[in-house]
Symmetry: C2
Subunit: 148 residues, 2 copies
């Protein structure tokens, strides 16, 4: 399954982060949609879990829009990941019907433990990076390229 939700959510938060740096007004879903090449309604759907967790804040009404819920250096990519994929496990277990032997009886259990461990590894790697780091990295890539 090609899941692009994390990628989308990350890009969205990066936009909000640079807007926060510039002190600009909240970004409307239409503005974000344009930058993401997506539909405003889709952007609002992506924002739901992010606002639920306080990573973003949406203000309604005219002149409304979205902005960061906290400073970018206090938002980790692990948090964004959790919002984007929700409770979906990293890997799905094969549909376990009645086990046919002693070994398979606990295969589901074993696999679940593996999944948890792998997810922790992923979150660990993402937890080391903040949104502010991401913005810095993008700028570095950009200026590095501009030199050529």
């Amino acid at each position: 399954m090609l899941d692009i939700r994390f990628s989308r959510a990350l890009q969205l938060m990066l936009f909000l982060a640079v807007a926060a740096e510039n002190g600009s007004a909240p970004l409307s879903s239409a503005e974000l949609a344009h930058r993401l090449h997506a539909n405003p309604s889709l952007v609002r759907k992506l924002l739901v879990p992010l606002t639920d967790e306080g990573l973003a804040v949406c203000v309604k009404g005219r002149t409304g829009g979205a902005r960061l819920g906290r400073p970018a250096d206090r938002i980790t990519l692990a948090e964004i990941y959790r919002c984007a994929v929700g409770d979906k496990p990293l890997w799905a277990p094969s549909p376990g019907v009645e086990p046919v032997c002693a070994v398979t009886a606990h295969a589901g259990e074993y696999f679940a433990a593996l999944t948890v461990e792998a997810e922790e590894a992923v979150l660990g790697s993402l937890g080391d990076r903040t949104l502010a780091d991401g913005v810095r990295e993008l700028r570095r890539l950009d200026t590095g390229c501009a030199r050529h």
Copy 2:
């Protein structure tokens, strides 16, 4: 999407591992299919990448079937994972069309780096465990349960 290929491949290899321990004949795809509650043809499809990498060996003809390609203590779960999911990245990037600003220009690059790092973390966690460890763990879970 919920990808159950790794789970299936792992179960398959566990079956082969216990068969190897018992010194029994190669397991036919029909036998494996029965234990996995699947179709023999589907099992053979799952076996293709595993045999390509030498983790399993399939012998054709009457009395044919599948067995481990190496001792179970020299097969890591990371190898099984790689076979099961192939080149599919852990996360897919959002379809990157023309970037609209300097920040997004390298977002794909940045995201790819994140993906690689996360994949390495996952493979690291899986690389610590061998198939033999898995069999031991399943037995432990089984006897632990039987005591109650």
